[in-house]
Amino acid sequence: MKKILVIDDSPTVRQQVGLALSQAGYQVVEAVDGVDAIAKVDASIAMLICDVNMPRMNGLEMLEKLRTDARWKALPVVMLTTEGQPGLIERAKKAGAKGWIIKPFKAELLVAAVQRLTA
């Protein structure tokens, strides 16, 4: 069972993403912000779904920090956020994000994206 790390400071979003993914057969690990995510990422994680606006370390900072470690260069990361500014999307793209989903997400589309990126 593939393991997905869901990073969001909102427990409701973590739960909703977790339910959608677990119903699709994925195992979900949760982190509450970027700092927590960096601490929890390991070789068993198949993909990250990450919010942008979070306390302590936001999603883009987390992504940029993650890419400095050679082990996680190719780890798929999709941003899941209320933000939709082209500048932020471009920054995420440059940092190596594989996708950008604007909240509120549609569960079936999120699951389809995860299936495609973890295939």
């Binding site: 409701t12 339910l19 606006n53 209320t82 500014q85 793209k93 950008w100 509120p104 495609r116």
Partner: protein, 303 residues
Amino acid sequence: MAVIAKTSARTTLDRLRKFRERILARVRQVNKTTEDDVLGAGRHVQRVVEVAHRHIARLRDVLAGPVGNEDSDLARAIRSQSDHVRQHTSSVGKAVADHAGQVAAVADQVRSITAAAREIERLNAAARVLSINARIEASRSHGSSVFSTIATEMQHLSKAIASANKTVCELANAMEKAVPELVRQNHALARVVEGYAVEARDRIDVVDRRVAELRVAVATTLAESDNALAEIVAESHAALSKLQFQDVCAQGLLQIDGWVAELSKQTAAELGVDGQVAPVAHTTVGNDDVEVDRAEAGEVMLF
């Protein structure tokens, strides 16, 4: 005047600070309430899906286990029972046919015995003629003891043969009468066995048909259950999508604090006083106004 103006400005800033505190307290209270309720609703949705999953898994076990496939316990038991009945019916039919053959053989043997008895009777008649001839020869030779003895012995022998042959004939007659009864009983038994075999085959066919129908019904029911489960999951996804308003609203409400903080900074600057403005409760990477474009919401961009 300047002191009074600065005091007034600080009072204004202090009011704004308290205003922010009240806004934040209320926003956090509202967010907590909606968060609790949305988490609760999410758990209910999860429970519905889990119950559906469990129920359908149980249904699959119960239905697919006994009759759902060729290798199930019930299917094997029915097949075994049908094979047993077929085999038994075939064995009984063969036994009845063998019995008919044996009865026919007995009838032939009885006919042979009757023919043999007739031959004995014919030979015995010849022996009686010989006895009479011996008696005639004895009287011609004035009572020759040799011919007289032969005539007497031949007569005794002929009587004994006649007596024995009579017994054989009676037995043969009795057997000839019994054989048709045996044949009739054999035919009756064959009809019963054949009737039973036909009935057994018909019933086995009915059972096979029912099992096949049941298997189709089980497969259909399981397919419908899978479709129902897929629908439940899809509906739960839709419900989860609807529950996402909480995070969007929570972030939106927290933006109010950012606006008041900005107002506080502007006010302090305009009034020319140093205002210590507390950091905003919800920092954002992008613009401060989080406005969700519903048309864009849910959009997935893969790079």
